[in-house]
């Protein structure tokens, strides 16, 4: 945080050194227009697929191929949803539930573990602390996809493939979370407060849960969100680990359906409406937790 404040200060100075007319910093109309144009293009670029998904989800099977893909035809959203949740005895709802379980429980525990590890690395001095931290940091660089196959072989040894644990356990580690917790704990949990808690007779564990976690809350929300999204969207690990349809998360389930399109062309409509429904929990989680997140980052910036 200090670093960013410093650079901001430097930048402001740099600007001020230039001879300024009108007494203020104003960007030229051209650069503002260009910036706006770029933003609008980017927004369209990112939102058009979503718009397409939304529109396509409301169409009947016939209209899906025959009408303008970016505008509404006969409104059949609810019929489509009904078809989706009744197809194959409602297996889609099961998948949504599985995703919620993997992402919810996984992210919660991952946040807890990352918070403890980050706090410990930030606040306790012990031999090998930096080495440990660097090793964990190295973990950020290893893509989860690269670990899926070794994990599969490990879980095979333990006979635990095709179980909930095969997806849940690997989701519990978040090297990035540990990194963020450490940085945040170092910046936002003053040693004095920990000392005070100790003098008041609180044990280390109690100090962590009652004092440190509250001060670290904004970081924890961030870690939770990141991990929630990462697990929800994780596709490769379940693809390799799971064979029982009833254990699939929604991403894998929709992918499996999508590969069946050549056998059952009609299933495509279900993939479309299913994709729309599957991103709603992500949006809800984001909107619900965003508050904590924004206020947290702003607080950090002011310090």
């Amino acid at each position: 945080m200090t670093v960013s404040t410093d650079t901001r200060a430097l930048r402001t100075q740099g600007v001020k050194k230039r001879p300024a007319r009108d007494g203020g910093i104003r960007e030229s109309a051209v650069s503002r227009t260009v910036a706006m144009a770029v933003m609008i293009v980017a927004t369209l670029y990112f939102l058009t697929p979503l718009w397409w998904l939304l529109v396509a989800s409301t169409k009947t099977r016939g209209d899906f191929t025959t009408t303008n893909p970016l505008w509404f035809a006969d409104f059949a959203l609810f019929d489509n949803i009904a078809a989706l949740v009744t197809y194959r005895d409602g297996v889609f709802l099961q998948w949504l539930g599985n995703s919620a379980l993997y992402a919810g429980v996984g992210a919660l525990l991952a946040t807890l573990i990352a918070a403890m590890a980050g706090y410990a690395i930030a606040k306790y001095t012990f031999r090998g602390r930096e080495t440990l931290f660097n090793v964990i940091l190295g973990g950020v660089l290893v893509p989860a996809t690269a670990l899926a196959l070794p994990l599969f072989l490990l879980f095979s040894q333990a006979g635990a493939t095709n179980t909930i644990w095969a997806v849940l356990l690997p989701s519990l580690v978040s090297p990035f979370g540990v990194y963020l917790s450490r940085i945040y704990a170092a910046a936002s949990v003053p040693d004095e407060i920990i000392e005070a808690a100790r003098i008041d007779g609180a044990g280390e564990v109690r100090t962590f849960f009652t004092v440190a976690t509250r001060l670290m809350a904004p970081a924890l929300v961030t870690i939770f969100l990141f991990q929630f999204v990462a697990i929800w969207n994780n596709f490769f690990l379940p693809l390799i680990m799971l064979r029982d349809e009833n254990l699939f998360p929604v991403t894998l389930g929709l992918y499996v359906w999508n590969t069946q399109v050549s056998q059952i062309p009609d299933i495509r409509a279900l993939v479309v409406i299913g994709s729309l429904l599957s991103i709603i929990p992500l949006i809800v989680t984001f909107l619900a937790l965003q508050r904590f997140w924004q206020s947290g980052l702003a607080n950090g910036g002011l310090k």
């Binding site: 025959t66 693809l239 499996v256 590969t259 069946q260 050549s262 056998q263 062309p265 299933i267």
Partner: protein, 442 residues
Amino acid sequence: MAISLVARAGAIAAISALALTACSTGGTDAPGASGDCAPSDGPVTLTFTSWLPGVEEAVEIWNEENPDIQVEVQTGPNGNGGTYQNFFNQLAAGNAPDLGQIEFDAMPNFRVQDGLENIAACEGILEAEDQFVPWTWSQVTFGEEDAVYAIPQDTGPMAMFYRADLFEAAGIPVPTTWEEYEAAAVQIRAQGGYINNFSQSDINAFAGLVWQAGGEWFSNDADGWTVDLTGAETTQVAEYWQGLIDNDLVAVYPPWTDEWNAAYNSSELWTWVSAVWGANTIASGAPDTAGNWAVAPMPQWEAGASAAGNWGGSTTAVLKGSDHPYEAAQFALWLNTDADALTAMNRTANIYPATIAGAELPVFGEGVEFYGGQKIYEVFAEAGNNVDPNFTWGPTMTQVYNDVADGFSGAVSGSGTLLDALTAGQDATIAALKAASIPVKE
């Protein structure tokens, strides 16, 4: 990490070499390997991985009739979508399912990597040969003596879907040879339509066209594999379609997209040379054209001939390491020959059975409304009997498809030709086989 990777690569190479030795020695090795196929004692539970939608319904019938041999269905994406890779991972980890769905074009890959049990010694398996459409059986035996590595499940005999109404209105005769097909293409183009769409990514469909022409991409014997993606027949097919592309007589929409569906739905495209399962693809993608389609045999290279190609189809294989090969083989045979099971799989997944009797199921005797009430399956049954049994797939088809598709997508946009793409594919395939330590003859 590095060490284990090297070790693994080495192990794969060793297995491939072994498998091929087994392949090449054929008759001498097989009886020993398949000599023991005895029933297990007591009740068994088999696992069966398949991506056929609703295959559980057929399995349910079996489970009710066979309380001592219960089959548990597992699922996943289609083969190339991840299930084959999963099978290989599971074979390496020793926890593969007892039975797996494997398409014909992936069978050599599993054979070379020693992933299949030889079930020839199991009761009733060798005798079952007569029940299947002839070409399918050679695909599961690889021509080896006393060897059966899977039971054929479904096939994709090819024919020509065409817009009967448009041909009639324009007074164009329905083409029976590829020469007539090209002539019709010119007339259709003059009316603003296209006779067909050249698929840049369905290399297995192109293989079906080559198959019809009598070409062979792969063959293998004691000395190794021969790769021939640029043989005389393949060249003929490639140059024919290249001509249609060059003269703007076929459209080049990316297949399986909305654009492509829309082109059929808006009557811009008049025919599709495709497999039996394509019947549902059109019905779903071009709903506005219902009732106007019909099916005729594929156009021929020689007038009066009746050769057909095949696109798609799969088998039920017993995977290596199964503890109950006897029961697994019995189930695989039942699943793919029993009339109730085949009817159930046709209802839930539109499969077209690989058995001779399967083509006579009541469901295939009915007229189909989307095709103006025509009994279209009669055409496909005839086509199935006219598929050349000697076509062999290679052990690295996924790679072949990817490499050739790269070249094809260049060719449809004017860079290079289809033949260039196949020539490049030929080199890439030989390199891939060598990289996998599979012997190649050049």
